[in-house]
């Protein structure tokens, strides 16, 4: 039997912050094989909400 140990790297955002790699966001990020912690950084939640708002299309009625 072969036992494989898979290393899991979890990144957790600080209070009031959210993690992003520029396109995706998360409070907790489990890095996949090949991904690096350096690819992720924190932004303020306020900034994140602003980004969300900008991405929202004009409401259609």
């Amino acid at each position: 039997m072969e036992i494989k140990e898979i290393k899991q790297t979890l990144l957790e955002a600080s209070e009031g912050k959210i993690l992003t790699n520029g396109t995706a966001y998360g409070k907790v990020v489990a890095l996949g094989a090949g991904d690096k912690a350096e690819n992720w950084y924190e932004i303020d939640l306020e900034e994140y909400e602003k980004i969300l708002e900008e991405e929202t299309p004009v409401e259609a009625e």
């Binding site: 898979i6 899991q8 959210i18 993690l19 790699n21 396109t23 995706a24 966001y25 998360g26 409070k27 907790v28 990020v29 489990a30 890095l31 996949g32 094989a33 090949g34 991904d35 991405e55 929202t56 299309p57 409401e59 259609a60 009625e61």
Partner: protein, 501 residues
Amino acid sequence: MAERTLAENVAQVKADFKSIRDGFGEYFDSIYDEPTSAYGNYPFYTYNRGKDEGITQGVEQGKQEVISNSKYIEKQASGKVIRLDDVSEVAHKVVVKADTPTEVTVCGKNLFNNDISLVKEVLYRGPEGNSSRKNGYEIHLPAGDYTATLISQEYVSNVFWYGVINDANGNFVRNVALNQSTANRTPLSFSINEGDVLYWYDGIGDRTIQNSWNLCLGLCQVQLEVGYVSTPYEPYKCQTITATPSGTEVSSICPIMTFIADNDITVDYYGSYGMQTEWDRFWDTFQYNKGLKMSYSMAFSLKRWSDDNFKPKYDIVASDMNQCFYSSNITDLVRILTERGVTLDTSQAGSMSYAFGYSTISRIPTINLSKATNTTFMCANYDSTSASYARNQLRSIEKIISSETTVFANSAFRFCDKLEHCIFEGTIASDINLQWSKELDRASILSLLTCLNATVSGIVITLPSMCIDGATDTLALIQGDTELNTAYTNALAKGYTISFA
């Protein structure tokens, strides 16, 4: 009067009914007469024109065909006298039934047969109580309300018809004289009770009925019709049929049909027959490829489309789903398609942009995204701070089939915060963001993790930090569930980064 319309001893049973105006016209009004589109003051045609000419032309043709031909009635009435108003010229079916074979006179609206050969010597009692004998028409009508109209073609003094109603015992009831003293059209409404007899006779001196009535008939037209309203003149038309228990089909002979029988009959007007024809006509035109691949861009978009009028005839095989159901008022897409026996095939659609976005759809059937490369706002909806949040109803997607080339836009499930169930199948090799779906069930999460089966780099799968009931920590759930954890660790090993937002 025709023989059968003079039938005696008929009870007072009358059941008029009128048509529903342009049944499918209303249907199409709801689709077409939206004053503005989502993008400003442009009618649907204007907005859609140029985006998909096929659909636009199909809609136009379908509408024109239906509007120019549609009218339907869907009604049933029973009795001895039944009047069917506004019988349309389009395909329809009228079936007359009776418990036992019954002779039925089917007239137009005018019940008066002015055949001079029906003139005979009549004995009636006048208002003074005296019996008189004159030449005229003796008319036995079923009990009910009637209107008689003398329509002269030009004014001539002393052109009138004397008339009285006598009851079953031969007593005077009322005058029903028609005259044309001051106008060329003088309607008179009156009631007939069971056993009453209507006499129209020559009351001018001792002249013979033949001479005077020939003169009168030469100048006038008389219409006797059911009801209190005098309507435009129509010549007397009549046919006799035999109603049977299984029903006898009658083709319309007039804009208004009157059925008279000695026994109770039932008249069924098959509105659905006309509706079916018109539904076929529309959907054959609209879905011009009849179940084969075609563009459904904008096809069922905006609030004009609802559960009431979204009744596709053929499978929806879409080459393009761009805004197909965008902002529509349809609710349960699964139920409607199931009831109609119609499937939604998106396997060849490259664009799913706004396909279900901002609609009121609560259930989406299986959607195949194997070839989809544009899924922006595919299922997106309003957030909880929006005045339109009530439209955000998406709770389940039966299945999403994806391939290694499927591109899930970050906005594909934007604000889908009521989404509870969404089973994934195939391979997910693109970023996907389900962060808003905090009620996703375990099966959905497991299916998604299982689809993370390609070897990838730089792909981020975003799950909601909470799931199931909005209060279950998703990561904790996964790590505490062998099956989920296996799929999760396998995905990480394949290169997927999994984010919990």
